[in-house]
Symmetry: C2
Subunit: 562 residues, 2 copies
């Protein structure tokens, strides 16, 4: 008999390391992954996602952590790889449901603390600042923070030492041999761990479809230098990601070199600058930074504005300047605007609109060579695989096609086909020395945050919003006498988002006739079930509008009882 003998107790994952991604695999965003061994759980990252186009009115999306709440007594803490929103943004919401300690490097913890303050959670949340190279024991696990490079400082990969073996989670990373601040990624440590034997690698898939190497952040500094040297007589405005402190550092350095004063504008830009300065992650030469109020005291060609809005976000500083609704800065003909970013998929049109508006005001917009990615491309990933040489590969951080590309790359780098697996959020991956397989699935998904409401908007409400958005609403209201069912008032028709009422009087009159006839027919036939009356009015009006207009508004019949 050659069939494998299923060892008892293995099916439920006993004695195995379980890896349970609770988000981050269907999209870029909402990264959170639980590692469980017997009575210990640690959670890597706790990010939010920005709402999709169909999530009307939603501000942000946070992960469903039902599984963690059910196993609360096992959860030893959050270990955070870096301070981007898609890795820390859900913490203030989740910590209210799951109060456990948070571990991260200095800048990461500083950014988290800013959020905790906003949510009044500082007092009740334990934080521990970790240094690269340091490790912490959490139940059955020991977690070591390993230096990496990324588009935010202080990013870390995690070596997770478990009873069944070592797992490396890269976090978001790139390989930058010449970083602007601090050290290069700790390739030696990856090699050392690889040499000792790594059971599984969870690596960043964002750029796994892109050939070649990711350029050093420092190359952008060279571009800034040449742009500044070519435009000595013009004001320069640079829009970039607030969290990319190294980018801001390079702009500041170039401004200083060319004798320009620097103004920082945009709420998140100001916040990150403050936090980064306070903790020593950015160094601004004395006297270089000026307040926006003092901008008018310097000739334009002696100033640089560093601003948010590089993604065309409608309320960000650059968009407000472009639309002439910024209170303190007006775009002037001759201004040079550098968009130091590439549009995140979905933002292309918004960015394009801002570029048009800036151009119309006479600004010169420069995009070329002013951005590099923060994620490893294919050749970088190959280097990581060759250093770590994992037995199993579980690509993370990316849409299916990105993770698929990493799986193919892993196979190319010698990981056996069956050992490189693509999983979905909620999958329970069970690992031991010999096997890596999905054995179960737990609840997962996105909880919608709308204003102060968390989770009170779901699919039904969203579908209503989509219907309302498409064709508006028609309210049909009437008053009936309680017992006799005699019509006392109405039916009245009121609409919102349907048609111009003044220009569509005939149509609305006809619609009123249709509803009145349907109602009268019900009353004549002594239909006493009001639900039925409502449905009959609704259907007849709906039919009429579809035939007449090919439109499908939400119809809301209301019967008042007197």
């Amino acid at each position: 008999m050659t069939a494998p003998v299923r060892r008892p107790g293995k099916k439920d994952g006993k004695g195995k390391l379980k890896i349970i991604p609770l988000g981050g695999l269907e999209q870029i965003g909402m990264n959170i992954t639980a590692f469980e061994y017997e009575d210990s759980i640690i959670v890597v990252d706790c990010g939010l996602a920005f709402p999709g186009d169909d999530m009307l009115g939603i501000d942000l999306v946070i992960p469903d952590v039902t599984y963690l709440k059910q196993n609360f007594d096992k959860v030893k803490g959050f270990v955070i790889t870096h301070g981007h929103e898609d890795h820390i943004g859900a913490l203030p919401y989740i910590l209210q449901q799951l109060n456990v300690p948070v571990y991260g490097t200095k800048l990461t913890i500083a950014l988290i603390e800013h959020k905790l303050k906003e949510h009044n959670l500082m007092k009740n949340t334990k934080r521990k600042v970790m240094k690269h190279g340091q490790s912490v024991s959490l139940g059955s696990f020991r977690v070591e923070f390993i230096k990496t490079n990324h588009s935010i400082q202080d990013a870390a990969a995690l070596a997770i030492f478990s009873p069944v073996g070592t797992v490396i989670h890269t976090g978001d990373f790139k390989i930058d041999y010449t970083p602007v601040f601090g050290d290069s990624i700790d390739l030696q440590r990856f090699a050392e761990l690889g040499k000792k034997g790594v059971l599984a690698l969870l690596a960043d898939s964002t750029n796994a479809t892109r050939p070649g190497f990711t350029m050093s952040e420092r190359t952008v500094g060279k571009t800034f230098d040449s742009i500044f040297s070519e435009h000595v007589n013009q004001r320069i405005i640079v829009a970039t990601f607030a969290s990319n402190v190294d980018r801001v550092q390079q702009i500041v350095n170039t401004a200083y070199k060319y004798g320009r004063k620097v103004v920082v504008e945009g709420r998140s830009m100001v916040t990150v600058m403050e936090i980064a300065s306070e903790h020593g992650y950015i160094k601004v030469p004395e006297g270089t930074l000026i307040d926006i109020e003092n901008l008018k005291n310097y000739p334009p060609e002696k100033t640089v504005l560093i601003t948010t809005g590089s993604q065309g976000e409608s309320m960000a500083a650059l968009s407000r300047m472009a639309a002439s609704i910024h209170k303190k800065v007006s775009i002037m003909p001759g201004d040079v605007v550098i968009l130091s970013s590439t549009p995140i998929p979905g933002n292309e049109k918004a960015v394009s609109n801002v570029v048009n508006e800036l151009s119309m005001k006479g600004a010169q917009v420069i995009c070329q060579d002013t951005h590099v990615s923060g994620h490893a491309c294919q050749e970088d990933l190959k280097l990581i695989y060759s250093l770590i040489h994992p037995k199993f590969a579980i690509p993370v951080h990316g849409e299916y096609r990105h993770r698929m590309a990493q799986k193919e790359l892993a196979e190319f780098m010698g990981v056996p086909k069956d050992n490189a697996i693509l999983v979905s959020s909620g999958d329970v991956v069970a690992l031991d020395e010999d096997s890596c397989e999905v054995i179960d699935h737990v609840a997962c998904g996105g909880i919608l945050v709308d204003g102060l409401g968390v989770g009170d908007v779901g699919n039904i409400v969203l579908r209503d919003r989509q219907n309302l958005a498409q064709n508006g609403i028609i309210v049909v209201v009437l008053t009936l006498e309680k017992h006799s069912n005699q019509l006392l008032a109405g039916p009245d028709i009121v609409s919102r988002g349907f048609v111009y009422v003044r220009e569509s009087e005939d149509l609305l009159e006809e619609a009123h006739g249709v509803v009145s006839d349907a109602l009268q027919d019900c009353l004549d036939r002594h239909v006493s079930d009001w639900g039925k009356i409502k449905n009959i009015m609704k259907d007849s009006l709906s039919d009429f509008l579809w035939k007449r207009m090919k439109r499908n508004p939400v119809i809301l019949p209301i019967i008042m009882e007197v």
Copy 2:
């Protein structure tokens, strides 16, 4: 005295050629430009625009032609450059308001006729098929159709001969020395006209920001050949633009070469294929085309599907296949899907979703080198400028940044700075031998089409839809006695798209209390103005919800009178 003497009668454009773009300059789409000389007007193109993200529920946008209607007796006809929707799509709507003859090349007229049939306008619309090289006299104008290349066949530039000089409108064009069908662009004619003297050039700005030359359509054929030769054991599915008949021809040719049968799928793809075949613009070898019903009779590796959906449009054939809701085609592991297109800005996310879905079903998705643009890049534009050498340049067909790029290019090619002008839709440009200036502005804009309604949805209705989409609606309804203002029923609260009613009972109860209190207060104070009562209820509820939820639903108070 050196100031220019303003000659009498010149200010109102008398004796001048007026060029009046009524659309197409704020976006790519809705191209329509009037040329007016004394009592003659001709109109170049009559396109539609697709709705922006903020135009909720809108199907398409057509130009406001009030100016043409006011000058109806002058309008001699529409001259159409090519058969794309953004150049012909509004014709069936506008011809109902402005019944004048339509001139175009054979395929262009055939595509227009298909639309006229759908709108029952064939009998009442005069059409005239023009050949390249032919010209037609229309009032004071003579219009010559000049062969160009584009991503649809039978595209034409127009030489418009007017009493003040010759104007060339390129339409949408590229330079293809080796087109798949028919001749290359008639560069000789452009040179000949340029030699004689061209007053103004209106050229396509779509790719004016792109350096280099646009590749020949034929290069895509080579890519198809190599993909087909590498995947002889797999089914191949190619998604592309329905109107790109040359692309389809190349897919058919490659399929035939490799002994595959071809299935055409997607409504617009089938329509265009029929029209193109009927008029001889595509040649399919006998027996190559099979019906989709017969697909099952051939081994997958002996078939090719040509389909719509290359832009990720949710209802197109490819998207339905990817989502497993296509009735006749299921994606199989190993299928090769070629996306022969690049995403139009704004469609990136939708395309990416389709790629993910296809990958998850085991298909291999290929995008690289499978598309070329239909628009001239910078070096092509330079060639056109050097052949035509116009006195004035009025860049068209593009967003501001594209037209700005062409203006800069025109200056580089020797057009004096003040002779290259950027105009807005509605601007009246007056031209004579010596000058080109904006002298007036006429009504213009987009008319929204929603279902069968044309123009009955405008800004107020759209704003309502946006508000409804963000936070839903709350209807507050109550019944008062006519004279006594005594409350007979209500206030009742009904909501749609606001919150899960079942999970938010407490909140809705509180909201009810707030409205009831506000109402009672009005009644106690004998407020008799119902408008005032409604506003007080609305404001108090609105305040409550903002404080409590940070949300702003539409609130619709209704008072019934008994």
